[in-house]
Symmetry: C2
Subunit: 782 residues, 2 copies
């Protein structure tokens, strides 16, 4: 949606106060690096019904195709065609997959291939004018320019609802492409089937070997009027069929199966559901998904969507979003509120509910389980989300986050290698990215939720099994040497830093539970980060088994220098649990401050981010990379120095540059809401630098007023009436009306509800937060 369209849309809502959901602009982050999708979904719903604008095979002849990275969510706003509307997506990720069960309305000649961006008329693909697009939480619409069909989408948690308004007197056909997918390749679809149960109901499934190695997507699809005729083509028949099936299996035969199925269903003109807003004749298609069975999908359809009109479901889902987004009330400009609520919206798409309405779900062990005593979630992009997303959900949506933590525990228990999830996707372990940061998510939930105490033992057991697994690269050596040796491990330096942080989580969790000997053991491991700092330069550096550091380290270089998706310049600040110790490793406060200052102002030569998937000019502040996660806590590190005010200075710069109310408004992958969660915390004025302890480090608020209502009914009010780009500095803080000089605030304080008042000014208060007892947590002390 263009800003003009948005304004028009908002204006149409009349004089009443706008609900939070109305500020959400799902188009933000749908161009460039954001990797968000504009489609319709319910909060935390597994069905995310969204248009796909291109079909890029992820490999050709075994070679990786870089462009697939642009289509992690299936959508790039720069494209001017739509392939179709599929039901599963990843929100903001840096890896692509899903795009299951693609549907497209068609008129005129039957076309079963998707066509190309360059020649959309060669297939069922449609040109679009972006001006015709509309999106709001739970709703997406677009006019297909070639055939004139208005396509509207809404969704429940497990069902996508399509309403297609066909031009009067045009043919009405629905294409269901079971071969289509994101991260597709020749062979991704292992099997697919459609059963035409009756003239308004289909069931079926497909199994894919995508990024999720074996993803079972069962479906039940209902149509609002009867199918007249149907058929399919197997786009690449691989099997000798024999002579034994003596009828035409390709036309009106209700038992469709194969690996390359594109099917079509023809409907009669006229007699569709009425549609107040659109002229023409409508066909409503409801698509329920299940990871368990077709029966499961059918139950989901019946429970969530049967017997309801498109408008009813749209309205119910809008209300769900309003309810979920309603936990934050704020003041600010339209742009600011748009960014805040869009960010909040982004934090409630993934992780997603992954169980049927009857609570059955497909586990990591390939078995069907009943979720007893918890709700099962999937899509855990934990290397990203342990940092701020899970802490944010833990604060705002505590029961959901507790259920996510329990889902991770069940993942571990079902996992043949016995580890907590690294990247959990539809009952699969993706092993993507480094560390075993699920332990941080668990520790954070433990530390902040006394109510989980009966489960602490199980959590700790799972954490220990994970942190002693033989499946993490060079973890054995790390345990022996105190660091990951570069001889064995190409990302040895960042692994050492990440393992040490994770080990600190376990240390903290063990302390919480009174498991002292475990705490001792992991205290030692948590300090291992020290072993990867090269004292000769004060940078974290890859180190060999023999103790030597890499001699020719290029600390500006992201790849090939012993770090993952970050250069030494950024990763060297990655000791969230022990900033005091870190300062010593870097060479003392003076050197530390020099480096930290330099990070934000340096002029990073283009060669260091050219052709780099994760780092672009859009996501840089100096050499600080906000577009990828390892640096997210870095601006807050000034709190441990004598210049805490510099945090305030940089936060607003980052907020303004990286989060803009524009389609290309996100500076990097949203990463299942991590980028957005950073925004929300930072807007509130505090951030969980080291999730797993109960402190949030105070930065500076971004908005004049915020009120956060917690599940327990308590509210956090944050007032900063004078805040502005100019008045970005915190002069003074009042907590519940009393002066508060600490640089941190605890979770227990927040969870009881409180009023935090920030007095903002154009000049920093350089004296604030300098006393030792005002400093935030650090594992070691000076």
């Amino acid at each position: 949606m263009t800003k003009a369209v948005l304004t028009l849309f908002l204006a149409s809502l009349g004089p009443m106060a706008k609900a939070q959901a109305e500020y959400v602009n799902p188009f933000i982050g749908t161009e460039g690096m954001g990797h968000c999708f504009p489609g319709a979904c319910a909060p935390f719903g597994i069905v995310q019904l969204s248009p796909e604008t291109d079909t890029i095979p992820h490999n050709v002849d075994g070679h990786y195709q870089g462009r697939v990275y642009d289509y992690c969510s299936g959508y790039q706003h720069t494209d001017n065609t739509i392939v179709g509307f599929s039901h599963t997506h990843l929100s903001g990720t840096g890896h692509s997959d899903l795009g299951d069960i693609l549907i497209m309305p068609q008129t005129g000649n039957l076309q079963l291939n998707p066509g190309t961006k360059e020649n959309p008329s060669g297939g069922y693909r449609q040109r679009i004018d972006h001006a015709s697009e509309q999106a709001s939480p739970g709703f997406y619409a677009v006019t297909l320019a070639d055939n004139g069909v208005r396509a509207e989408m809404t969704a429940t948690q497990r069902t996508g609802i399509h309403r297609y308004t066909f031009p009067n007197d045009s043919d009405q056909r629905i294409i269901i492409d079971l071969l289509h997918g994101i991260y597709n390749y020749d062979g991704k679809v292992l099997w697919s089937t459609i059963r035409v149960v009756n003239d308004t109901l289909l069931t079926g499934y497909r199994i894919t070997d995508g990024w999720a190695r074996s993803n079972y997507t069962y479906f039940a699809i209902s149509f609002s009027k009867p199918i007249q005729s149907y058929g399919y083509r197997d786009m690449k028949r691989e099997k000798y069929m024999g002579f034994w099936r003596k009828f035409d299996i390709y036309h009106n035969f209700p038992d469709i199966a194969g690996r390359n199925i594109v099917a079509y269903f023809d409907f009669q003109k006229g007699n569709g559901e009425s549609n107040k807003e659109q002229k023409g004749d409508t066909l409503v298609v409801k698509v329920a998904l299940s990871g368990v069975s077709m029966q499961g999908a059918l139950k989901n359809l019946q429970a969530e969507a049967a017997g309801k009109t498109f408008d009813q479901i749209r309205e119910e889902t809008r209300k769900s979003w309003e309810h979920e987004l309603g936990c934050i009330v704020c003041e600010g400009t339209v742009d600011q509120k748009t960014m805040l609520y869009t960010s909040l919206y982004h934090t409630m798409i993934n992780p997603s509910i992954y169980m049927d309405i009857d609570r059955r779900y497909r586990g990591l062990d390939g078995e069907i389980h009943q979720a007893e005593g918890f709700d099962n979630y999937t899509v855990f992009s934990i290397w990203d989300t342990y940092r701020a997303l899970h802490p944010l959900l833990g604060l705002l949506k505590t029961s959901r986050n507790n259920n996510m933590v329990r889902s991770m525990l069940h993942h571990q228990q079902q996992n043949i290698v016995g580890t907590l999830p690294v990247w959990s996707l539809m009952g699969n372990e993706g092993w993507c990215m480094t560390g075993y940061h699920a332990v941080s998510v668990l520790a954070d939930a433990m530390v902040k939720n006394e109510s989980l105490r009966p489960e602490y033992e199980n959590f700790l057991k799972a954490m220990l099994a994970t942190a002693n697994s033989k499946w993490f690269p060079s973890l054995n050596e790390y345990k022996q040497l105190g660091y990951c040796p570069y001889d064995r491990d190409g990302t040895a330096a960042s692994n050492t830093l990440e393992y040490a942080f994770d080990d600190w989580s376990i240390y903290n969790a063990a302390l919480t539970i009174g498991a002292d000997s475990i705490a001792d053991q992991f205290r030692t491991r948590a300090l291992n980060y020290r072993n990867t700092y090269d004292p000769s330069c004060g940078f974290a550096s890859p180190r060999y088994k023999n103790g030597n550091f890499k001699s020719d380290l290029d600390p500006y270089q992201t790849y090939g220098e012993g770090f993952i998706e970050g250069n030494s310049w950024n990763f060297s600040f990655h000791v969230p649990h022990d900033p005091v110790g870190l300062i010593q490793c870097v060479g003392g406060e003076r050197e530390f401050l020099k480096k930290l200052d330099q990070l934000f102002v340096m002029d990073l030569p283009e060669k260091y981010y050219k052709d780099n998937e994760d780092i672009t000019a859009d996501c840089l502040v100096g050499g600080y990379v906000h577009g990828n996660e390892p640096s997210h806590h870095v601006p807050y590190l000034y709190a441990w120095t004598s210049q805490p005010w510099k945090t305030q200075q940089w936060l607003r710069t980052i907020m303004n540059k990286m989060y803009r109310n524009e389609i290309r408004g996100l500076g990097g992958n949203d990463d299942c809401g991590q980028m957005s969660a950073w925004y929300i915390f930072t807007a509130m004025g505090f951030y969980p630098v080291a999730p797993g302890c109960d402190q949030y480090v105070i930065g500076a608020p971004y908005l004049p007023y915020m009120k956060i209502t917690l599940e327990n009914g308590h509210a956090i009010e944050i007032k900063a009436p004078r805040v502005s780009d100019k008045n970005r500095y915190v002069q003074r803080v009042l907590l519940n009306g009393k002066p508060y000089d600490k640089l941190y605030i605890t979770h227990s304080l927040l969870s009881q509800g409180c009023i935090i008042e920030f007095e903002m000014s154009p000049k920093p208060n350089m004296k604030r937060g300098l006393r030792p007892f005002d400093k935030p947590y650090s594992m070691t002390q000076p």
Copy 2:
């Protein structure tokens, strides 16, 4: 086993009376056309653990490979190598599939490809000397000549048990080839996985798109000693793997998955289970299967095989076989008893139990069901087995046959097209062959089992849905025209004959239930066979829509003349339900007898059976084809003529020629026991010419004495003390001591138990059975 070996084996059993199971020779029918397998299975068990002697792709570049037909059961005795031992097979079929989960013991260098028949040393394949083979019900053994491993197999219904005795001091390795299969082709395996649960337990599954379109085979595999190390190769990696899995997934990583997996497991020398009979060190592998889930397979393993030694299981299964085979006691020569019990054995392999120990099974609808009130069976080769196998099981194993009928009913209820099975295989409909003969199986069970009365309505409903389905070729036209028109249907003539018979089954079932209008409707349809006889020649002939018959019919030609797997000469006798009407169609009794006589004595030119899969010289008596099913009732048709004694003449000729105690001893495909069931009925002296009525037509007994004990405890004694090749003619019959002049006996008489005495002589009694009221059932009367 050679005869010499058999004799030796039998001699070793000592002086006691031999149990029935000891006469069974599983090698009969394993060479040439029999398509039997020699491996180990329990009665009606789904696990049929048998060696495979070759791996023929069923297609190459999309072209059908004829040779795959030789390997329907995976085994040809002429081969001198074994690829390995797999767990699922088809017994005697004319179409191939299965061969799931192949296991092979290996010593020395790791070899993961199967090698070829020509160059077995190029892979894990092994040469064998057939003299080293042993087989008996529930047991198979062979010595692998290259590595010296003695391989012994036994099985429970759901578990295959392997005992490998490795030469002392040799390496011990197990290959598990998940890529291997019968009816294999590049792409048959859709997905496969192995989870190494612990050092003695694997679980996993594979999904194949074979002849069974989507076959789910889950497994649980236990080893009698711990795995030392393991690994796998993906024989054809299709997917770009990305960089995100940072460890070696190919060695000792317990989460194995892919489409082309061949895995290996190494074990320590020594400390195996002791094996009294073999020198060396043993490794026992227990492989449980499930169509439902890995958990299901694990439960099956635990229930049937865990905690038992190989010898215990072998003994239990031997006893099961003795129990099942014990329903018949007989006298005769060793060859005769061998043939009788081997035939009886062949009737109890397929259909097979297809549900887990907890009664869960995969239905035709792709959903998991609980079998309530019945046992679920699969492998229904109904075009073959409706004729004699199901009637035989209905007589001998009544509850099992009732459960098979119920399984067919559930198939129909789960079937998206709502029809009873045509060829049901592992939760799939294969649609193989013609007619809807399941209605005959249902009708036969209804007519003979008053106890099924509460289910009659459901049966009839399923029969009607089937007989009015639009998915049978030219059935709509048949209903309109009274015959299948050749313009629309390449096998129009045989379809007309088969549909008419099936319709008579429904007519009969409807009468049984008192559904008179349905009976009327199907009475008319049952007489449709008349419309396909060309009065100008007295042969069944394909007929066009316009009423004309094919003018240039070659009644000797099997293919391309309007019949399926049979020529007009044979198929023209295919009116089992109305021989009287048939005689009129052929041109009256004189012409009928002339043709029937000629059928058995004609000299069929070789060109008519050369290069013919189903008809070979081995299976011919004149032009009568016993090796395929359509003619199986034909020798009994003399009963409706003035020369009933000719039945007696030809039966013994057929018995002697087609069923020989030799490896190549079967004249045609055993077809899941149909050929064998014919043998048993004929040996008893009667045959169910028209299953669906309660009469058996009396032929001539083959053995001097048989006693058949029914489930209800009653026994049928058949005495023919003077019978011999010479004394093949029935002079007189006594039923329970009283003269019995009828040419048929009813099921109700048999089921109450009776003694039938046959007085045999070298000359026929040409007067017997000529009175009208002694004639067997015919739908119409003269």
